[in-house]
């Protein structure tokens, strides 16, 4: 496996990024994901839909091979899904750079196209703050999954959302990424911010009409994520203020903002989580340390 990844890295940089990403996301040492009965949840149904576009086939193959959705299903196993609802999570070719929560009937759609786009962005990375291409993709990939799951949870649990829901979904993703220790946060938040800033650059200045979007401006989203990271862990992310990435005026409020998000989760979502399964999930190592590869089966 190590030799294969090395070979791919020399020949196909994008493929290597994908390989490393999926290695990083493939989770546990040892036992196959679906062999852990403690993390079973039969109210979550996963599907990989084969793409028609040939350039998406390698992504599809690798995601399946690495059991990414199986891992996600286990990660989400603590969710108590209400009666009459099945949380469907489908990966497919969407024909656009997007992913979305389609509602209780059809569930969550995660697009190979989005991952392809993130890989393209990351392949061009030249970040002065040391962000690796692998972590850029990892952060972007996980953020979109958890963002859409945020929409799913708000819907399924009828959570009261007083603010703008797209910001709320970003907050859900950031909260999850912040709850698995500084190593996970360090590897994921910078990628989220990098992608948001890349999108902002591609967008250019927004005209008045553009602000009608129910998503925030990409720079807003970048700063929101920086603030969440700093608010959750001002020690690990002290550099975002020291290096001027997050203005001090905003940084001063980030602890309070993070506490607000945590409070919202505690009141509206946590009652729907199995606490014992949650402990098991939080105890597992979901991202392999950088540089470590999964041995061949």
């Amino acid at each position: 496996m190590t030799a294969l990844v090395g070979a791919l890295a020399r020949l196909w940089p994008r493929a290597a990024l994908l390989a490393v990403l999926l290695v990083a996301a493939s989770g546990l040492h040892g036992a196959r994901a679906q062999d852990d009965p403690a993390l079973a949840n039969d109210r979550i149904v996963i599907t990989y839909v084969p793409p028609r576009a040939s350039f998406l086939v390698p992504i599809y193959n690798r995601l399946k091979e690495r059991q990414v959705l199986e891992q996600l299903k286990q990660f989400l196993s603590p969710l108590k899904i209400p009666d009459g609802i099945v949380l469907k999570i489908t990966m497919k070719e969407c024909g656009e750079t997007n992913s979305w929560w389609s509602g209780r009937q059809n569930g969550l759609f995660l697009c190979y196209d989005w991952l392809d786009y993130a890989l393209n962005i990351a392949s061009q990375i030249d970040d002065p703050h040391g962000l690796t291409r692998e972590d850029a993709v990892l952060g972007a990939f996980l953020q979109v999954i958890f963002h859409e799951l945020g929409h799913a949870m708000f819907d399924i649990y009828e959570a009261p959302v007083l603010g703008r829901e797209e910001d709320a979904a970003d907050q859900m993703a950031g909260l999850i990424l912040s709850r698995f220790g500084p190593d996970v946060a360090k590897r994921t938040f910078p990628g989220v911010v990098y992608l948001a800033k890349s999108m902002a650059e591609a967008d250019g200045d927004w005209e008045h009409d553009r602000f009608a979007d129910d998503h925030g401006n990409w720079l807003q989203r970048a700063y929101n994520n920086l603030c969440m990271a700093y608010g959750a862990d001002p020690t690990t992310f002290a550099y975002v203020v020291d290096q001027g990435l997050l203005p001090k005026e905003r940084a001063a409020n980030c602890g309070r903002e993070y506490a607000q998000i945590s409070h919202a989760f505690a009141v509206t979502i946590y009652p729907h989580i199995d606490p014992e399964k949650m402990k098991l999930v939080q105890a597992k190592q979901w991202l392999r340390p950088e540089g470590q590869e999964v041995p061949d089966k």
């Binding site: 708000f154 009828e158 959570a159 009261p160 959302v161 007083l162 603010g163 703008r164 829901e165 910001d167 709320a168 907050q171 859900m172 200045d205 927004w206 008045h208 009409d209 553009r210 602000f211 009608a212 979007d213 129910d214 925030g216 401006n217 720079l219 807003q220 970048a222 700063y223 929101n224 603030c227 997050l246 203005p247 005026e249 905003r250 409020n253 309070r256 903002e257 607000q260 998000i261 409070h263 919202a264 505690a266 009141v267 509206t268």
Partner: protein, 292 residues
Amino acid sequence: MGWFRVVAAGMAIAWAGAAASPAAAAQTPVNPMIDIAYVEPANPDFAPLYEGLKRRKVLEELQAFLAPLLLPKRLTIEVAQCDAPNRLYAPGGPVTICYEYVARLRALAEKIPADGATDSGVTRDDAIIGAFVQATLQRTASAIIDIFDLPVWGREEDAADKLAAFLMLQFGPGAAARLIKGAEFFFNASEHAWNGADFAEIESPEAQRYYNYVCIAVGADPRTFAAGGESRDKPRSAALGLGGVFTQYRAVKCAHEYAEERWAFQKLLLPHVDPVLLRQVLARDWLKPFDP
């Protein structure tokens, strides 16, 4: 729209201006947990605003309007000189409306002819009332979120805006339209250009807030607030400058946005409202001409 008038919490603040009589105000109980203050400004330029607001008893009306709210601790609402364009609510309070802010909205409203209206039908009077009510409600909403420790998903300033918009819409189509349009005018009149690190601010861009209010209103009452609602010759969408992104993408989501806000209000705030006092509040005519 309208369910709120029957069962919901009357926390909205619409100003009874010059026409409000002391007798009428005395008949409506005030909220005993709300303290009000007109803080005399040091800057003599603000003296006319100070005197005008005091004379019209705007804060007394607010006390009465908030009567149904079952506050567990005291809240101070004041008008004061801030030595800044604006002052957001900070945990622990008070709610402060700055003379600087009132002066600014009055200056913007004076761009509208005294006996005329904008293309979207906003009179000078509506612009002043709507913007003032919006600012007061938004800050009071922040205070309510703080006092009741409400769970807030999304950015808190946006949450306060959405709650303010929701409350403004509960007064029936006529009054609601005047308030919402006035608030929209104020946001749309802003010439603040946002660049780079500006987007790190806690408050959202004025254009974004503008569309938030437009969308909540359209979601609540498409007949009054959506395109073509007023004049076939002059569609409201064109008059409001509602371009492609709103009409083609956002507008279809507005009903859901309003429903989501209504649900959040019902679940989080309705338990803290006295329904009997609410009915009294909603039975009054609160919206009258106002010029600070």
